[in-house]
Amino acid sequence: LAKTTQPISMDSYEGQEVNITCSHNNIATNDYITWYQQFPSQGPRFIIQGYKTKVTNEVASLFIPADRKSSTLSLPRVSLSDTAVYYCLVGDAGGGADGLTFGKGTHLIIQP
């Protein structure tokens, strides 16, 4: 299982774009990169998943360079409600029986 490293915390302000980078030097060929968001006392919520290049959905973009040893979650124009813990996970997208392995995540704090 590829180990991930991400900043423990980040601060930003409303209306700014926030980029959270995750390092995963030992990513395997068939691994996908998935980001989850967790608010206090709630379960993690899937944000976005990708394999290479760029993926965009209605809430975020995910940038993955050619070597796939890192990835960047980009949140456009954040608001106070984006204050949460963000987890970067690397593994088989098929998942199946294997459970997800969460790290400590990045605690993002958005200020007015």
């Binding site: 919520r45 997208a93 997800l100």
Partner: protein, 116 residues
């Protein structure tokens, strides 16, 4: 958007008592999971369940834990004799094919278990 529903939201129990945590996964999902999160710590995998049997379990999921899908909709986690260290948030999750690329795993809002 479909949801995973967990009940109760908060359970207080005495040490040594049995508790059952209940979950209703998304109806067309095939894989079901339990995770726990001790206050201030990481989300930890407990067990996965597919085709009416346990697929994988972690070291945490010892003999005092069991899971069951008693009917077509509910998925339960039983802790036989609770200990103080079982106090945590317990999250149920489900997925369509063990990790749908579009939606990932869907987690419930959790049950906060407090053992006193």
């Amino acid at each position: 958007e479909p949801e995973v529903t967990q009940t109760p939201s908060h359970q207080v129990t005495q040490m040594g008592q049995e508790v059952i945590l209940r979950c209703v996964p998304i109806s067309n999902h095939l894989y079901f999971y339990w995770y726990r999160q001790i206050l201030g710590q990481k989300v930890e995998f407990l067990v996965s369940f597919y085709n009416n049997e346990i697929s994988e379990k972690s070291e945490i999921f010892d003999d005092q834990f069991s899971v069951e899908r008693p009917d077509g909709s509910n998925f339960t986690l039983k802790i036989r004799s609770t200990k103080l260290e079982d106090s945590a948030m317990y999250f149920c999750a489900s997925s369509a094919t063990g990790g749908d690329v579009t939606y990932g795993y869907t987690f419930g809002s959790g049950t906060r278990l407090t053992v006193v």
